[in-house]
Structures are given as C-alpha cells and as structure tokens.
C-alpha cells in the first residue's frame, strides 16, 4: 500500500515536472519589424511574433476561423447594428501582472482611434468604430460610426491587440516599442534590434501554459543563410524559404519542408488608361496567351495554386465555379487580329525587381506574349517606389504586378481598394455597377448575402478582365524533426502554444 502511494506521488510529481514548459525553440525569420507596438505596423514579420505576445478580443486560429479570444462572446445590442457588445474573459492578467478588464479594452481603442493611433498605419483599418464604452468591468460596447461587416474579423488584426494601460502610460513610447507587454502565451525578455528577440513561456496564460519554455526569434535577411542555419542544426523553424532552395531543404536529413497555401495572390493588373489594354479584346487575347498552370508547374515547381479571381480559396467571395481563361495561343492571335492589333505592338510589363520568383514569372509571361505577336518590355522597380508612387500615379506599363494578402480574408478588402473608382491604388479603372455592388456589400451584415455580392464582383473582375490572376502563393517553411506540434500558419501568425521540442 505504502509503495503504491509512493509510486502515485512520484507519478504526480513527475507528471507535474513534465507539464512544465521546457526546451528552447529557435526560429529564423527574414525581417525585424523594429517596433513592437501593434498600432505601428503592417509587417507580417510583426504578426509572426506579435501573435505570441498579444491577444485580441477575438482570435483567428490556424484554421483561419474566428473564435473567442479575450472576449468569450459578443452580440449586437440593437437591430440597426450600431452597438456591438463584448463579454470579456475573467481572471486574465497582462504579463506584468496588470489586470485585463473593460478599462484596458477602452484604453486600447481610445489610443488606436486617438492622436497616438493617427501617427501609425493601423488606425485606417478601424475608422468604422466611433468609440468604446465600458458597461461594467467585464463588458464593453463598441459604438459604430459607420457599418462595417468585417469588424469582427478586423478585431483579430494587429491594430486591435489589447495593450496594458498602466505600462503604456507610465513609460515613454520607446519602452513599449522595444519591450512590449500583452496577455499572450509568451513574454518578451530580450530584444536586440536586427539580431534576435527572446520570449519565455507565460505560465499564467489564460489558454494554458505553452509547452516550450523559451523561444528565440532570429532575424536573418538572406534566405540562403536562414537555410544554412537550419542545415547546421542551429535553427528549428525557418520562414520564407525561396522556391530555389526548396529542394535543398527537402533533401537535408533531420529537416522537412512544410509548404502552406498563403492568402497572398499574385496577378498582373491591366492598365485601362493605356492602349491597347484599354480594349477588352486585347485583354482577352493576353489572358488566353498566358499559361498560368504552366508557370505553377515549372517556375513555382508546383508551390502555387491556380486562381480565377484575385483572391484565395480562404477568402469570403471565393467562387469555386469561376474558371480562369483557357491557355489558347491560337485564339489569342485571332482576338488580337480582330482587335486590329499589329504584330510587334509594344506591351509594357512592370514589376518589383527584388522578387526573384516573379522575375522568372514575368519573363515567362513576356515570352508567351511574344509568341502571339506582341512585343513585351519588362521594367523592374523598388518595392516602395512601386506601390507608393508608380501604381497610384499610374506611371506603369500595360500590365503591372500586384501581390495582395487581403488580411481580412474577405474579398471586400481587395476589391474595394483595387477596383472601386478613385481609390489610392486604382487611379484608372471605373465601373459604376461594380462601385454600387461594393457599397451594397459594405452596407449589410448578412454574410451569406455579402458572399453572393462578392462573387458577383469577382465575376465582373473576371469578365471585364480588370486583372489577370496568376496564382495563389504557397509559403515554404523548413522545420527540424525535433520540433513537434508545429502547424505552418497560412497568415504567418505563428501559434506556438502547442509546439514542443525534443532532443
């Protein structure tokens, strides 16, 4: 009897010991976002780490579905959808011991929507919220300024991560930028810019303590070096493996390649203000000349997914029945002839020069356009100049690259910003019917109805050939065999709570 009791005690003690977080996980990622304040950033590199430090009221899981986060439930309090009520999780504390409550939620959104938030890029996503009211310690109301059917999804976004009022107020802004505190599963203990950031497990995490004790994120801009770190056994998880190194990783012992479909889609947009792509027939001819499946098979080595509109299958508004234009060079030549396009007509293709994969894609597209008698010229640009200057001012060629993540996983984000008349990145295209549909879907909270309208928008995009969707990207991760429980996230927001490391 005594022995049994002793054995039981030993088992319990050992069990407890094993339940403690243990081991160190090293992750190599490309970029250091430099500021950890959620309202300052749009970098995916922030999301990779920020999601382990902070929580939002709602949480987007690895299945990309929205579920409870720091709020356990929510509902509209009125039929006209002007007041959105959240019931908050009790007994949650920030990593510095500060309590999480309704005041913290109000503080977070006052800061985001006020002068502090106006200095950063995230405020622009939350302008539909007028203000937040505290109902009681664990209940808040979001009072809406304008209808926003994507609001729940947005509250899982970077800008809506809940921050600790006392820590933020008591310290200068650069302290929070460097040593952020949230309610998340891991706590920052060290940050050396452009070198590494160290997290340790938060044993009091409301969702249960993580399995791994320490996570070191290393910032390594060069992909070959990241892969070398994986091969040398010094990194356990490596993000952003280029297609050219996929084979190397697959063949490395003790390591596996983990491809995951990302929400990022890649397309060539048509310039409607430049001849000859102002003609539908020419756009159709170009669409039939390009073999996007061939591009996926050869250049992307299969690490791409075909798409027929400028959204991934994860997006609300995705229509599986929509088919892309067939690859038919003969039909393309016929259409060009009908449109009266002479052989050797120049077609300018503009894209970002640093993207080695897309450079090859653009070259393939150019050779296919040449094959149907056009004369393509390729022009490359630097990322910021391209998106912030050339595209908004429409100083690009007939076809120009666009890569779009659509962080809300809702076609509204892409379609409104790229197709609605006179939007920042749409200096040229205008379609009254499409504008009306966009306004309509923004005005209703009925998601089924919105999905139908968004599919109609995708149909117009397809029929009018606003752009030529090429493929949905697959993100390639390299993972050491000693890592268990890791799921490569589609949106780059790592969930490390279930990850553990062996020897």
């Amino acid at each position: 009897m005594k022995r049994t009791v002793l054995a039981l005690v030993a088992a319990v003690v050992l069990g407890l010991a094993f339940a403690q977080p243990s081991g160190t996980l090293t992750i190599a990622q490309q970029q250091d976002p430099q500021s950890w304040d959620p309202i300052d950033t749009f970098y995916l590199a922030w999301g990779m780490i920020g999601s382990s430090i902070f929580d939002g009221l709602v949480h987007r899981g690895l299945d990309m579905k929205i579920g409870p986060g720091l709020a356990t439930s929510w509902e509209w309090t009125d039929a006209s959808n002007t007041r959105l009520r959240f019931h908050l999780r009790k007994g949650v504390t920030f990593q510095d011991g500060e309590p999480f409550n309704a005041a913290a939620v109000k503080f977070t959104f006052d800061r985001l929507l006020g002068p502090e938030g106006a200095k950063g890029p995230q405020q622009a996503n939350y302008t539909s919220i007028d203000h937040v009211e505290v109902v009681d310690d664990y209940t808040v109301d979001f009072v809406m300024k304008s209808p926003d059917p994507v609001i729940i999804t947005k509250l899982a976004g970077y800008g809506a991560m809940i921050v600790p009022p006392k820590y933020v107020t008591d310290n200068p802004p650069e302290t929070f930028n460097k040593m952020p505190i949230g309610t998340g599963p891991f706590k920052v203990t060290e940050y050396v810019p452009d070198d590494h950031l160290t997290l340790v497990a938060n044993p009091d995490y409301w969702g249960g303590a993580p399995k791994v004790a320490k996570v070191i994120f290393r910032f390594i801009p060069e992909p070959s070096t990241r892969v070398a770190e994986l091969q040398a056994g010094r990194a356990d998880i490596v993000q952003g493996i280029p297609i050219s190194l996929a084979d190397t990783v697959s063949k490395t012992a003790g390591v596996k390649l983990d491809p995951v479909g990302s929400p990022t889609v890649n397309a060539l947009r048509f310039n409607f203000c430049k001849a000859p792509t102002d003609q539908l027939k020419v756009r159709e001819a170009i669409a039939h000349a390009v073999d996007s499946q061939g591009i996926i098979d050869s250049i992307l080595q299969g690490y791409g997914i075909p798409i027929a509109s400028f959204q991934s299958s994860m997006s609300l508004g995705y229509d599986p029945n929509l088919k892309s234009y067939s690859y038919d060079p003969e039909l393309s030549k016929k259409l060009l002839k009908e449109a009266g396009i002479a052989a050797g007509t120049p077609i300018g293709i503009d894209f970002i020069g640093t993207d080695a994969t897309f450079r090859e894609v653009a070259q393939a597209v150019a050779s296919e356009l040449q094959a149907v008698g056009l004369k393509p010229t390729l022009a490359t640009h630097e990322t910021n100049t391209y998106y912030n200057d050339l595209v908004p001012k429409n100083t690009v060629g007939n076809l120009y690259y666009s890569g779009w993540g659509g962080w809300t996983l809702d076609f509204d984000n892409t379609a409104y910003l790229l197709y609605h008349t006179k939007q920042f990145w749409n200096p040229c295209y205008s379609n009254a019917k499409l504008d009306a549909l966009l306004e309509q879907e923004r005005g209703t909270y009925d998601q089924a109805k919105r999905a139908v309208i968004l599919q109609q928008i995708a149909q117009i995009e397809h029929d009018d050939l606003i752009d030529l969707p090429l493929y949905q990207s697959k993100n390639l991760w390299g993972v050491a065999d000693r890592v268990q429980g890791f799921v490569a996230p589609a949106d780059d927001r790592l969930d490390l709570t279930t990850v553990s490391v062996g020897n």
Partner: protein, 307 residues
C-alpha cells in the same frame, strides 16, 4: 602640425555638410515615409497621410527639416527613427561596435595576408610562388562578396561546422564575415604591396644600401618596406570607405546587426533620420581615418612633415 590639423578639421566640416545635405535631399526624392508605413497593405486617405506627415515632421520645407537636423547634430541628437521610435544616436551607438569590429577584423586579415604574400611575391619576382600569389589575388578580385560569403557559410558552417553561419555572438561568429571582406581586400592589397616593393627595390638608395654590405633582410625590412608601405597605407585608408560599403552586403548575408543593415533598412523604410544619422556617423568615421592615414605618413617617412 597643429595648424595642419585645424585646417583638416575645418575642411572635414564642409565635407560633412555636403554629404548630409546630399543624403537628406536624395532620400526625400525616393518616396514618402507616411505612405511607406502602409506597406501596400491598406490604402491611406489624404487626411491620414497629412496627420502622419505632421507627426513625423516631413510636412515642413526641406531646408527647415535639414536645419533642425543640423541643430540637433550640434547637441549630439540625431533625431528619432520613424520606424522604431528609438533615438537614432542610441541605435547608431549600439550598432557601431558591430560594424567597427567587422571592419577592423577584415582589415587585419587583409594585412596579415597581403603584406607577407606581397613581400614574398616581390622577393621571388617571376618565380612560381609569385605566379601563384598573383593568381590568388586575381581570384579574390573576381569574387563578389555575397557569393564568397555564402560559399564560406556552406563550407565552414554547414559542412564542417567550425563556425556559426550567421549572427553576432562572440568571436567565432566574426570569423566568416571578416574573412569574406578580408580575403577580397587582401587580394588587391597583395598586388599593391608587391608592385610598390618592386619599385622601391629598384631605387638607387636600395642599391647603395646593398653596396654598403647591409644584409638583404635589413635592406628589405629596414629600408625598402617602410617606403613601399606608404602607397599601401593610402590605399588601405581609402579602401576603408569601400570596406564599409562592402559591410552593407556582408552584414545582410551574415545577419550582422551593424550600421550597414541599419542603413539598408532605413532606405527601404524611408526612415530619413536613421539614414541621415548613420551616414553622418560613417562620414565622420571615414574622415577621421583619412586624417589618421595622412598623419601616419610622417611616422613612416621622416622626410614628410606637416606645417
């Protein structure tokens, strides 16, 4: 000597103003940091952009912005980074040791290789070892630094695992990046040491020294090499600037958190204060190195005096 020093320092101030003016002006031509902040992920309205520009201070006329930068510089304040919100002077000070240690280690490697190899090649002029040394230096000249860096990683970090592939953690991590820069610099320096020594060895005073019966060792090291090193030091001094340029690429390849990666990120984010601050510090540094180079001539050649 003192008058010379004051004159040189005075010149350096004008050089600095020229460089910072040029850098501040050109980065402002390359794009708006307020728009860059959105990363092409969300479309800002004109009003939002105006608020951000006001907060960053980029809504003011260029000369006002530049004047406030110069004013701050006099107090050692290089402004606040647009991206990280940290004081620029602090970040630059944190990064400076990383870049300096890399540059100095590369310089040391290059000299340790170049001087003996150059001397050997000059002494055995026309021999097989001279040919081998010239081939080595030609190879070094033809390697782009990022390629050489990746090759060194693959051999010494992945295959034999003697050194870490990247990072800034202890002396071991310094080996591969400094070797990448040092080998390339050594190749040009070796050629220069060789040709400079060959020239000097042909001079009359060397012949005289030999005629006086002085040993060849003494002729070489006591008489010829000192003179031969003057152009080498000029070259190395000038190369220091180029070396810091090479550091930008090598820091990227080896994830070395120095001024090179800081400047590169500042450019891509249009972080005006950070770029201005980094370039100013590098410019002061290069100006100081050049001054030291000029002063060192007097130590090597007693005929050179500054007044």
């Amino acid at each position: 000597m003192l008058r010379y020093l004051i004159r040189r320092l005075f010149q350096s101030i004008f050089v600095l103003i020229g460089i910072t003016l040029f850098v501040s002006f050109t980065i402002r031509l390359s794009g708006d940091p307020a728009v860059a902040m959105f990363q092409g992920a969300s479309a800002p309205t004109a009003e939002q952009l105006a608020t951000i520009r006001k907060a960053l201070g980029t809504d003011r006329p260029f000369l006002t912005q530049y004047a406030s930068f110069l004013g701050g510089l006099l107090h050692g304040d290089l402004g606040t980074s647009f991206r990280s919100g940290q004081p620029v002077a602090e970040e630059v000070a944190h990064r400076f040791p990383a870049t300096l240690s890399l540059a100095l280690a590369a310089l040391a490697i290059s000299l340790v290789l170049a001087v003996p190899l150059g001397v050997l090649a000059a002494r055995r002029h026309g021999s097989l070892s001279d040919l081998a040394i010239r081939v080595f230096s030609l190879l070094g000249l033809s390697f782009p630094n990022f390629w050489l860096g990746i090759m060194l990683i693959l051999i010494f970090a992945v295959r034999v695992r003697w050194f870490p592939p990247s990072g800034y953690a202890g002396p071991a991590s310094l080996v591969l990046p400094s070797l990448t820069l040092g080998l390339i610099l050594a190749s040009t320096t070796t050629r220069l040491v060789r040709s400079s020594l060959l020239d000097v060895l042909g001079e009359q005073y060397v012949t005289t020294a030999r005629a006086k019966g002085i040993t060849e060792q003494r002729v070489l090291y006591r008489h010829a090499l000192r003179t031969a090193l003057i152009p080498v030091i000029t070259f190395v001094g000038l190369q220091f600037g180029a070396l810091l340029g090479g550091v930008v690429i090598v820091e990227q390849v080896f994830a070395w958190p120095g001024l090179g990666s800081l400047a590169l990120n500042a450019i891509s984010f249009r972080d005006y204060p950070m770029l201005q601050g980094t370039i100013t510090v590098l410019a002061i540094f290069i100006a100081a190195i050049n001054l030291l180079v000029d002063l060192s001539y007097a130590l090597l050649d007693p005929r050179i005096r500054y007044s």
